[in-house]
C-alpha cells in the first residue's frame, strides 16, 4: 500500500488555484451581492437600499414574464435534448456504414457559435424571402411557412427546436461515451435470461448510464436557463418581450441605468438555476 505523507507543500500548491478562484469568482460574487443591495445606476453614487431590488423584481410584470419564458425554454429544451441525444447515441452505438460521417454531421452544429446559428436559422425561416420559403415555393407549398418568429407562441417553439438541433450532438457524445463503458457481459447475461432489446435498455443500459444522464441533465438545465445568444439572434427577445429571457433582461437592465437592480436579478437567476440542478443531482444520485 502506498503511503502518502502530508506536508505543507500540498497546501502551497493549492495557493495559485485558490487565488485565481478567489479573484475571479469569490471577489466578484461578494461585490455582486453588495451591489445588489444598492440603487447604483452605473454612473452616480450608489445608495444602500437593502432588499428593495429583490422586492421590485417580483413586482415587475416584465421580469416575472421573463422567468416564465426562461422556464418554458428550459422545460422544452432540457428533456428534448436528453431524449434526442440518447436516441442519437443508441443509434450511433450500433454498427452501420457511414457511422463516422453521421456522428460528425450530428455533432457539427455544436461547434458553431450559437449567435451565428441563430442568424442562419433566422435567414432560413424568413417568410417571403428566406431559403425555406423559396424551397417550398418550388413545390408550390410556400404557404406552409408562417411568420413563426413574429408569433408569440411559435417563436418560443422555434427557439427550443433550434437549441435542441444545435446541442443534441453534444448530449449524444456524452451518452455515447457512457454506452461504450457498459460491459458487454451485462448484455450477454441479459440475453441469456431472455431479455428483449427494450428490457435491456430499461434494466441494463439506463441504470448504467446514470452518471451520463446526470451530467447531461445538469449541463442542459444550466445551459437552457442561461440562454442568451440564440434568442438575441433569432428574435431579439420579441415580438415585444414574448421571448425575452432572464439573461437578456439582466443585460438590458444593466445598460438601462439599473446596474444595482440587474445584479440583484443575476443573483435571483443564480438561485433559479441552482434549485433544479440540486434536485436533478439528488434524484440521479439516488438512482445510481
Amino acid at each position: 500500500m502506498i503511503k502518502t505523507k502530508k506536508t505543507g507543500l500540498h497546501t502551497f500548491m493549492a495557493v495559485p488555484a485558490f487565488l485565481l478562484f478567489s479573484l475571479f469568482f469569490i471577489y466578484p460574487l461578494i461585490q455582486g451581492i453588495g451591489m445588489s443591495l444598492t440603487d447604483w445606476d452605473g454612473l452616480s453614487h450608489a445608495n444602500f437600499i437593502g432588499l428593495q431590488n429583490f422586492f421590485d423584481f417580483f413586482k415587475d410584470e416584465r421580469a416575472v414574464s421573463d422567468i416564465g419564458n426562461t422556464l418554458l425554454f428550459a422545460l422544452g429544451s432540457a428533456p428534448l435534448l436528453n431524449i434526442i441525444g440518447l436516441a442519437y447515441a443508441l443509434l450511433m452505438n450500433e454498427k452501420f456504414k457511414g457511422k463516422g460521417i453521421a456522428r460528425v454531421i450530428i455533432y457539427l452544429p455544436a461547434v458553431i457559435s450559437p449567435l451565428i446559428m441563430g442568424y442562419i436559422w433566422y435567414l432560413l425561416l424568413q417568410p417571403g424571402r428566406g431559403f425555406m420559403f423559396h424551397a417550398l415555393e418550388l413545390v408550390g407549398k410556400s404557404s406552409w411557412l408562417g411568420n413563426w418568429l413574429g408569433d408569440h407562441t411559435a417563436a418560443m417553439i422555434v427557439l427550443v427546436l433550434v437549441n435542441v438541433w444545435q446541442y443534441a450532438g453534444m448530449t449524444m457524445v456524452i451518452y455515447l461515451a457512457g454506452l461504450q463503458s457498459i460491459p458487454e457481459e451485462l448484455y450477454e447475461s441479459a440475453k441469456i435470461d431472455g431479455a428483449s432489446y427494450w428490457s435491456s435498455l430499461r434494466y441494463v443500459t439506463l441504470p448504467m448510464l446514470m452518471p451520463s444522464i446526470r451530467i447531461n441533465v445538469v449541463t442542459n438545465i444550466i445551459g437552457s436557463l442561461a440562454v442568451f445568444d440564440i434568442v438575441m439572434a433569432l428574435t431579439d427577445g420579441g415580438p415585444g418581450y414574448a421571448t425575452e429571457t432572464l439573461s437578456i433582461y439582466i443585460m438590458r437592465m444593466c445598460y438601462g441605468s439599473k446596474t444595482g437592480y440587474s445584479t440583484a436579478v443575476a443573483l435571483i437567476m443564480f438561485l433559479i438555476i441552482l434549485i433544479p440542478v440540486i434536485i436533478s443531482m439528488r434524484l440521479t444520485r439516488e438512482k445510481e
Binding site: M13, P16, G42, G150
Partner: protein, 445 residues
C-alpha cells in the same frame, strides 16, 4: 528535485497572479489620477508636456474621414495627439467608461441623464461656434432643464417618408398631406401594383417602430404644444398635456391607423421579422414603394443601387389628428461633447475648432450625407434631387426635433416593443395607449 520544481512552478503562478493585479492597479490609478485631478494635469500641459486626447464615437459613417481630419490635426502641431475610438454600441459602452472612470475627453454620445449628472462640460461660452450654427440647431442643442449647451451638433438630420418617385409618377399619385390621402395612395399602389409593398416597415428592429411613435404621435404633441413646451411637458410628465392614454388621443389613433393598414395589407406581412437590410433591398429593387426613415438611410440606399438616387422622393408624415399639420423631423445630428472631468479642456476645444472649420465640415457633411448645421458651410451632401425634395418637405411641414426628454427607464426600443405587441395582436389600440402611458410613467420612477 520534483518537489523543487513543484515549489518553483507554484511560486511562479502565485507571482503571476499578483503581477497581473499590480499592473492593473497601477494603470488604473494613473488614469484615475489624471481624471480626478485636472489642475495637476493642466499644469503639466502648461509646462509643455505632450497631451493625448481620446475621442469616443459611435458614428461608423465618419470613421475614415475623422481619421483623416485627426491625422491632419496631429500633423499640424506637436503638442496634442488625438486618438479616435469607435464602438458600435457606443451609447452603452460609454456608460461602462463613465462607471470605470475611463472617460474620454471628447464624445459623440449624449444623454439627458448624463447632462443632469454634470458629466458634460458647459459649452455655452463658445460663442465662436454658436455664432456660426443655425439658430434652430442651437435651440435643439440646448438643455431645457438648465438652459445651457453641453454639446454642439455639426449636422442636421431629417426623417420622413422616402418614396419611389417612378412608382408615384406611373400611378399619378401625389404625396399625401392627410392620413386619408395617405391611405388612398397606399391602396392605389396595392391595387395597381400587386407585387409592390405599399409601405415597408422593418419591425424586427424595435428602434424603427419606436421612431414611428417618435415622429407621428410625439410629432403631433410637439406641433400642438411647440417644441420647447413639449420638451417641458415631457420632462415634467405633464399628463394633462401629454394625454398618452386617452382612447381618442394621439397614441390610440396612431395605433388604430397602423392596425388598419396591417389588416388591409397595406404594409408588409412580415412586419415583425423584417430587418433594415430587407427594407433597403425591397426599396431599391422597386418591390417597396415607401419607407419611413431618416437621412442616414440614404447611404445604404445609394450603396445598394447608385441609380436609385434620382428616384428617391421625400415627404413629411401626413397629419392624422384633427386640426393638425404634416410633420417632418429636422433635428440635430452628430453632436460633440467634452467631458466635465477632462484635464485637457483647452486642447479639446482646440481640436474641435479644427474639426469645425468650414473646410473640414464640408467634407464631414458630404461623407455623412447630412446637411451641415453651420451656416457658413456649403456642401453637396446629397443629389440635387434629394436636396430639393428635402427642402420642399421642410418648407411644407411643421419641423419637429427628437425627444431627448424621455424617461430614463423607457427607451425608444421599449416603445417599439409595445408596437410589436400591438401588431402581433396582444393589444387593441385603446389598451396599447394605456400600456404606453403606464410604461412612460413607470420609466420615470
Amino acid at each position: 528535485m520534483k518537489r523543487l520544481i513543484a515549489i518553483l512552478l507554484s511560486a511562479v503562478l502565485v507571482a503571476g497572479t499578483f503581477t497581473g493585479c499590480s499592473n492593473s492597479a497601477s494603470t488604473n490609478s494613473a488614469k484615475t489620477g489624471s481624471a480626478a485631478v485636472p489642475s495637476a494635469a493642466a499644469s503639466s500641459t502648461a509646462s509643455g508636456e505632450h497631451v493625448n486626447l481620446k475621442l469616443f464615437t459611435g458614428k461608423i459613417e465618419t470613421i475614415d474621414l475623422m481619421n483623416e481630419i485627426i491625422n491632419d490635426f496631429n500633423a499640424s502641431q506637436d503638442k496634442i495627439t488625438v486618438e479616435q475610438e469607435y464602438q458600435k454600441d457606443a451609447s452603452n459602452i460609454i456608460k461602462i467608461k463613465f462607471a470605470s472612470g475611463q472617460v474620454p475627453d471628447i464624445m459623440t454620445t449624449y444623454e439627458q441623464g448624463f447632462a443632469d449628472q454634470g458629466k458634460y462640460l458647459d459649452l455655452s461660452d463658445q460663442s465662436a461656434w454658436w455664432d456660426r450654427l443655425s439658430p434652430e440647431m442651437k435651440v435643439n442643442c440646448t438643455d431645457v432643464k438648465s438652459g445651457k449647451q453641453y454639446r454642439i451638433c455639426t449636422n442636421m438630420t431629417m426623417a420622413g417618408f422616402f418614396y419611389n418617385k417612378a412608382i408615384f409618377s406611373e400611378l399619378g399619385l401625389k404625396t399625401a398631406t392627410t392620413w386619408d390621402e395617405f391611405v388612398k395612395n397606399l391602396s392605389a399602389i396595392k391595387e395597381k401594383k400587386p407585387g409592390v409593398t405599399p409601405w415597408f416597415i422593418f419591425g424586427k428592429e424595435a428602434w424603427h417602430l419606436g421612431h414611428l411613435i417618435e415622429f407621428i404621435p410625439h410629432g403631433y404633441i410637439k406641433q400642438q404644444l411647440g417644441s420647447i413646451e413639449a420638451k417641458k411637458a415631457m420632462l415634467a410628465n405633464d399628463k394633462a398635456k401629454l394625454n398618452f392614454g386617452a382612447a381618442d388621443g394621439a397614441m390610440a389613433t396612431f395605433a388604430k391607423n397602423l392596425v388598419d393598414l396591417k389588416n388591409k395589407g397595406l404594409i408588409n406581412s412580415d412586419v415583425l421579422t423584417a430587418t433594415s437590410d430587407n427594407c433597403v433591398q425591397e426599396f431599391v429593387t422597386g418591390k417597396a414603394a415607401m419607407l419611413s426613415n431618416g437621412m442616414w438611410v440614404l447611404s445604404s440606399l445609394t450603396e445598394a443601387d447608385p441609380k436609385i438616387a434620382d428616384k428617391i422622393g421625400f415627404a413629411p408624415y401626413p397629419s392624422y389628428m384633427p386640426n393638425s399639420k404634416p410633420v417632418v423631423l429636422s433635428a440635430e445630428d452628430s453632436g460633440y461633447s467634452i467631458s466635465a472631468t477632462t484635464a485637457h479642456k483647452a486642447e479639446a476645444i482646440e481640436f474641435l475648432n479644427f474639426l469645425f472649420n468650414a473646410k473640414n465640415q464640408k467634407k464631414y457633411s458630404e461623407t455623412s450625407k447630412a446637411p451641415s448645421a453651420f451656416k457658413d458651410v456649403q456642401a453637396e451632401w446629397a443629389s440635387t434631387n434629394v436636396v430639393s425634395e428635402v427642402n420642399t418637405a421642410l418648407k411644407d411641414a411643421v419641423n419637429i426635433g427628437f425627444t431627448n426628454e424621455k424617461p430614463a427607464g423607457f427607451s425608444g426600443d421599449d416603445a417599439g416593443r409595445l408596437v410589436q405587441d400591438l401588431l402581433s395582436g396582444k393589444y387593441t389600440p385603446e389598451t396599447f395607449a394605456t400600456a404606453y402611458e403606464k410604461a412612460w410613467n413607470d420609466g420615470i420612477k
